[in-house]
Amino acid sequence: MDEFTHISNGMEIEGNLNGGDLPVIVDGRFTGEIHAEKVILGEYGLFVGKLFAAHVEISGQFNGELVCDILNVAATGKIDGSVKADTLSIDLGAEVMGSIGRAT
């Protein structure tokens, strides 16, 4: 992980982000849409909107629509919305509300 896109803590972003091949780390607030290869939502991160990625790791608050191949929800993760994932893991303590289904 030499290079990545980072939305830092305290930062507020609104819009459309295409992460390319490099991972996207969200520690701040993001409102909008992300298309990326890998997305990590940090412990204090807040995401509102649509997220499309191959690999997703959620430790913060996620509201909206999530479509991915591999999803890992950490113990501090909270999801409110619809999730579509091929491979899914939810750690003990995580809160997931909404619908869960397969992406394909």
Binding site: M1, E3, F4, T5, H6, I7, S8, N9, G10, M11, E12, I13, E14, G15, N16, L17, N18, G19, G20, D21, L22, V24, I25, D27, G28, G32, A36, I40, G42, E43
Partner: protein, 224 residues
């Protein structure tokens, strides 16, 4: 994770962002960004492209920038390509930096603001004078009213003091008016009667003319 990332916002190479960015103390752009940024430090890396307004204290440009920038200090490296309008306080350009833009040093803006302030002050001043004018009109009206009241109050006094000393009472009335009006004018008027005549006589003596003028002119008519 925080140790790894720090508290620096980064848009990685290959990434593409379009929207709004707020509350960024420091941001590095290696990808493509279309946004308005208000930050302390902005770095546009080599291969990075940023389009939009920026209000930043310290800017390092190694990539492409287009838009209106208001910056404290700018460092444009050899690979920089800048277009648009740049307002700056200090700038450093490396050999090879490509500039196709308008540069404005910030002191001009300060001048404009100071002018605006002057205008405001002038407007305020004019308003104040206007107020004073209105006030003075009011005071004049008040003075005239006071005069009227003085006259009214003076007339019964005349009747009370009555018959014997009419000129005195008239003078008292005059005094009352004079003081309430403007006493400076009255002093000037008092001076006029005697002293002006004396002045004329003095002038005549200086010129060597004695009782010339109107009397002398009348003499031939009387003779004829």
């Amino acid at each position: 994770m925080d140790k790894l990332t720090g508290n620096k916002a980064v848009i990685a190479s290959g990434a593409n962002f379009k929207g709004q960015i707020k509350n960024t103390p420091s941001i590095e752009i290696n990808g493509t960004v279309e946004a308005d940024i208000n930050a302390e430090k902005l770095t546009i890396g080599e291969g990075g492209k940023f389009v939009g307004a920026a209000n930043v204290e310290l800017v390092v440009i190694s990539g492409h920038y287009d838009g209106n920038m208001d910056a404290g200090s700018i460092w444009a490296t050899a690979t920089a390509e800048i277009s648009g309008k740049i307002q700056y306080k200090t700038i450093q350009l490396d050999r090879g930096a490509a500039l196709n833009c308008r540069f404005i040093h910030n002191w001009k803006q300060e001048k404009i603001t100071s002018k605006k302030n002057d205008d405001v002050v002038a407007k305020k001043g004019s308003l104040n004078t206007g107020d004073i004018d209105i006030a003075s009109h009011e005071t004049k009206d008040k003075i005239t009213e006071i005069d009227k009241t003085n006259k009214k109050s003076a007339k019964p006094k005349e009747k009370e003091e009555a018959a014997g000393d009419e000129p005195k009472s008239a003078m008292n009335a005059f005094d009352a008016q004079g003081r309430s009006d403007n006493s400076d004018f009255r002093l000037f008027a008092d001076r006029s009667k005697k002293e002006v005549v004396d002045d004329k006589q003095l002038r005549g003596k200086r010129l060597g003319i004695f009782k010339f003028g109107s009397r002398a002119a009348k003499l031939p008519d009387a003779q004829g």
